[in-house]
């Protein structure tokens, strides 16, 4: 089959345009609706299609009992659950409860840590999504000075 010169050129232009798309757009989009949700249940539904997460002892959530400074609360989550797809941290009483979501591709260990802000004393929940369901572990963190500005 002979490809006309015009068609070939059009194809090249289209291919070049595809290559020019920034990587960020190719990665999974930032879940704006889940992060904008003002209730923990709504954020969960946006992310996982359900607000139900089964409590699991296979998730280990490390957080301070008392956070003196709500602006910097160290949180780490580790789990022995298998085929983990994502780990999220939800702070129930923050204005927008979903704090962060780690997307975990195969080969990456479900063992993550970060530092988050907390406006007030609240339960902090680690939500782990696996191939077989959604699981969670919670811990109450007391906050002495809120860290959401204002």
């Amino acid at each position: 089959m002979q490809i006309g010169r015009r068609l070939f050129l059009q194809g090249s232009v289209a291919a070049a345009a595809l290559l020019a798309i920034p990587r960020a757009l190719l990665a999974a989009a930032w879940p704006e609706k889940a992060f904008g949700a003002e209730a923990a249940a709504k954020a969960m539904t946006e992310l996982f299609g359900t607000d139900q997460a089964a409590p699991s002892t296979a998730i280990s959530l490390t957080a301070p009992e008392i956070a003196e400074n709500g602006a910097v609360v160290p949180i780490s989550v580790e789990t022995t659950l298998e085929n983990v797809r994502s780990v999220s941290i939800v702070v129930e009483k923050n204005p927008r409860p979903l704090a962060v979501t780690f997307d975990i591709p195969p080969g990456t260990l479900p063992d993550v840590a970060c530092r988050i802000k907390m406006g007030q004393t609240s339960p902090v929940t680690a939500v782990v999504q696996t191939d077989s369901g959604v699981y969670s572990a919670s811990k109450e963190v007391k906050v002495t000075i809120g860290g959401c500005g204002g």
Partner: protein, 104 residues
């Protein structure tokens, strides 16, 4: 070019322990400037990507509830000395920053 991302990787066998620190104000959009009383607009990292030899090993989606100058750590398997780990973030204003580190 100088980068504001600090990354440290420790190799333990084929598992790479990654610790990363970014410089970013992470404004929530709720804080008021103490001098002018004007609301400081939201300015926060939305997505942070780690690619090892071009393969995604971690994507972190952030809200404004991630602390100023964010810190993240995680580990991934299948790593070898000489692998190149690329780190890149984008924020809600479209700014971005990236760096690379060679493992080992």
């Amino acid at each position: 070019m100088a980068t504001t991302i600090k990354v440290k990787v420790k190799l333990k066998g084929d598992v790479a322990e990654v610790k990363s620190l970014m410089l970013h104000p992470m404004e929530t959009g709720a804080r008021k400037d103490p001098d002018t009383g004007a609301t400081v607009p939201a300015h926060h990292i939305t997505q942070l990507m780690f690619d090892n030899n071009g393969e995604t090993v971690m994507t972190v989606n952030c809200s404004t509830a991630v602390s100023r100058d964010p810190y993240f750590s995680f580990s991934f398997g299948g790593a070898r000395a000489g692998d190149v780990l690329a780190v890149r973030w984008v924020d809600n204003t479209g700014e971005s920053e990236s760096t690379e580190i060679t493992l080992g």
